[in-house]
Subunit: 487 residues, 2 copies
């Protein structure tokens, strides 16, 4: 169960809520509200800044609907399945592995329908809704199909991952970008899966946001890489116990290409940049791995609300299989002319909604009757709030001028003149605004304001003209005590 308090804040404060909620229709669809969208946008901007700075790494924008041959080639038509079992009495369909997990408290992910049927028979498991006899376990394809054309001329699907667009567009982009490798093609966009059992708020939905970067390279450079970031992180291999290590130590202890470890380290670095500390890389077993991956490690973040680690990103070594299969299916030549080979691909992939949720869940703080989101300033919905102490004299006018000045300097600022100052602090605390600037009667005399820090509630008093410099320092994690005298 998600944190009740967090869910409530998300609903009340315009962060995240069910789509078309007034109809109470379908589970697994969520909207980002006016505050949630600001957080989402900051996350995306930071992701672009971090992952797309190299010269030959670009974002592309590919369609959500793609024709069937794409997914016949990629393998999603035949492999992108969940095991489903139907009740012979009430017709209810459920995920077979999940019924078993509930009944037997064991993980059955990755088992074949035949294996699951056998276990159901052995343990005499019945329908969880009516107690009826369960049929044989079958396969259920998770893609949403779409008929295109007035005569349904084309069978198509909503993409189950953003990755396929960059593969089908690879040759064009390779040519447009001076035929150089490595070439990085990223998509930030939606993906769709007809989940049988959507759950855990935005962690498992039917329509979700991904940021995926496909890095195309010559296989002979599989162990070439840039300097490792100076960092250490937890890894949990399938066949040995959890360890904390630097990337260089992992080169020695894990049987992974150096380029792969480099991108693991980069993902960790990005997480830490956004303030997410309790994370680990977990290797997936052969049964758990996605069908297209040679190496598959998930980046998991601890989520206090679920009291568990949850997947929020991953590094996939997809080899050259996607390009090769698309070449075979389409009859087009997708090799690199200068060597007659298919580039290999490492996929750096993020579930955006899961990332945002991990940030929110870890940011939730309570003390006495105070609740706040301790979001890092980089992903806070606003850089600062500006409040006139009361709606009298020229305080509102002065406050609006301060807001405007800060906006001109590139800061995002929210303004609120109503209610007691305490209630206004409480409201911006709950959406994670890191600093609140209050204009009071002294301001009219000496042009100074108070800056209140969300996490500590400490305040400093500074000149308006110094605000941009101070906010910039605070945004880059300088302590309040270091930039001014706490009052």
């Amino acid at each position: 169960m998600a944190s009740k308090k967090l869910t409530e804040i998300c609903l009340q404060r315009g962060i995240i809520y069910p789509d078309a909620e007034i109809y109470e229709e379908m589970s697994g669809f969520y909207d980002y509200g006016s505050i949630g969208t600001k957080i989402l946008k900051k996350w995306k901007d930071e992701w672009r800044k971090f992952f797309l700075t190299k010269d030959n790494f670009h974002e592309v924008t590919t369609t959500n609907i793609m024709p069937e041959p794409v997914f016949r080639a990629s393998g999603h038509l035949s492999h992108f399945m969940d095991p489903v079992v139907e009740c012979s009495k009430c017709g209810n369909k459920e995920r077979a592995d999940q019924i078993l997990e509930q009944e037997l408290d064991e993980n059955f992910e990755g088992k074949t329908p035949e294996e699951l049927t056998k276990i159901i028979e052995e343990h005499n498991i019945k329908c969880s809704s009516c107690g009826g006899e369960l049929k044989e376990v079958g396969n259920f394809n998770l893609m949403f199909s779409v008929d295109v054309g007035s005569n349904k001329q084309h069978k198509a699907y909503l993409r189950p991952e953003t990755a396929q667009g960059p593969f089908t567009a690879f040759k064009r982009e390779y040519r447009a970008n001076r035929k150089q490798l490595p070439l990085g093609l990223a998509v930030i966009g939606r993906a769709y899966r007809n989940e049988i059992n959507p759950r855990k708020q935005v962690l498992r939905t039917r329509e979700f946001n991904q940021a995926e970067l496909q890095i195309f390279f010559d296989k002979k450079h599989l162990n070439d890489r840039q300097a490792f970031p100076e960092i250490e992180f937890k890894v949990k291999p399938v066949d040995s116990k959890e360890q904390t290590a630097t990337p260089q130590e992992l080169v020695n202890s894990l049987n992974l290409p150096e380029k792969y470890i480099y991108w693991m380290a980069k993902e960790v670095k990005f997480m830490k940049k956004l303030g997410l500390e309790d994370i680990r890389f977990r290797e997936l077993s052969d049964e758990e791995k996605s069908f297209y991956n040679k190496h598959h490690w998930d980046l998991e973040a601890f989520m206090p609300g679920f009291n568990d680690y949850e997947e929020i990103a991953a590094v996939h070594y997809r080899t050259n299989r996607d390009l090769k299969l698309h070449a075979e299916e389409s009859g087009q030549n997708l090799t690199i002319a200068s060597g007659d080979y298919y580039p290999h691909v490492i996929e750096v992939t993020f579930g955006i909604d899961r990332n945002v949720y991990a940030l929110l869940d870890n940011a939730l703080q309570s003390e006495d009757d105070r609740t706040w989101l301790s979001l890092d300033p980089l992903v806070a919905p606003y850089d600062a709030a500006v409040f006139p102490l009361i709606q009298k004299k020229s305080l509102p006018k002065k406050a609006k001028r301060v807001k405007k000045m800060l906006e001109k300097k590139g800061f995002s600022v929210t303004y609120d003149p109503k209610d007691s100052i305490g209630r206004r602090y409480a409201r911006t605390d709950e959406i994670g605004v890191p600093f609140a600037i209050t204009i009071d009667f002294d301001t009219l005399e000496d042009d100074s304001v108070t800056i209140r820090e969300r996490d500590s509630t400490k305040q400093i008093r500074e000149d308006i003209k110094d605000l941009p410099k101070i906010l910039r320092q605070l945004k880059h994690r300088k302590k309040l005590e270091e930039v001014g005298k706490v009052i």
Copy 2:
């Protein structure tokens, strides 16, 4: 027909190309490549900056898939139709109004199926593909349907416009944003229509990008507005001839609310900001109007490639119908508590792909053997290119340092060391990079560089340290001659 030259540049330079092109499958689906996505992103950023700066105007992010009741309420289930006629011999389906337009060279948009059937009989029109007898004209719903759930429990649709999300989320957002009107809720995202005959490159596709702003307000403020922008523009009312007028003059000459005219003027101002000059507002006839609009004027831009004006944006006065119908369908109370009324809505809507295409089409320039895109710096894929004259000595190193310095100052810069300088100019001209900075041997002596302007090919020579200031001035449309001495 789209401009052949532009289509070729779009394909070759990573701007826009058909999705999943290697399969040659479905028409009406386009990708933005590595360069196109940069233009797209700049357009979106400018749109946000221009339309979402007011305090209570926010972006929200709603799902692409929405359940059937949403579209039963909105009217799309029963009204969002195209008239289709099937051949009784070959089974081919076509748009009836378009067959007639082709045959009779007249506009039949908005006619009912009955009317169209009658005209087909009167003129004895046959199937355009086999010459067979045509059946009666029927209605074809343009929404893509999607089955959700393992038992297809939910009938749903891909949204045909982004507008419905803000309507179903209105009550939550109204509460989260301190119960204040006007409230603006914008969505920048995808919409989908199963067009029978996709055409004109990205002007009529089956999956497209919209930026739509729903402005909720109390009807009694229908004529309240902020100061009109100082601007004049062309309007073409249904029942009178084209005129050029200021917003204030339109208040007197057109029967439109002042708030409506204000948003027309704002759209015009935005277009001019991005460098689009030849535009006009055209009033739609009762037959052409969308079923949900009381007032409906399209903003059209002249497109040289089509030698015609094409719709790229619009202002819609939707009244309070959407909220009222959702309240009825859902049984929820969607009125404003403090007055027991449904807010009215003006929709400020942009087809993003059509906007990008209008910019590209109007930017295409040719002279002798030179071709370039004269894109405004605000929407150019890069702010500048940096070239080492040749790949010798420390020129590349120096050039990379200049690139890095400019990036630190917030400019987007492309770097290219290969081929002759002329070919490199030609390449960046074709994607519309407004300025090229060349590092030559003199640079190593005196730290000066040449800045070449894309449109005039004129050059100035300036100190590296002055580059940020100069580029900023040029970006804000200062002339090259005003910032330096042309050499």
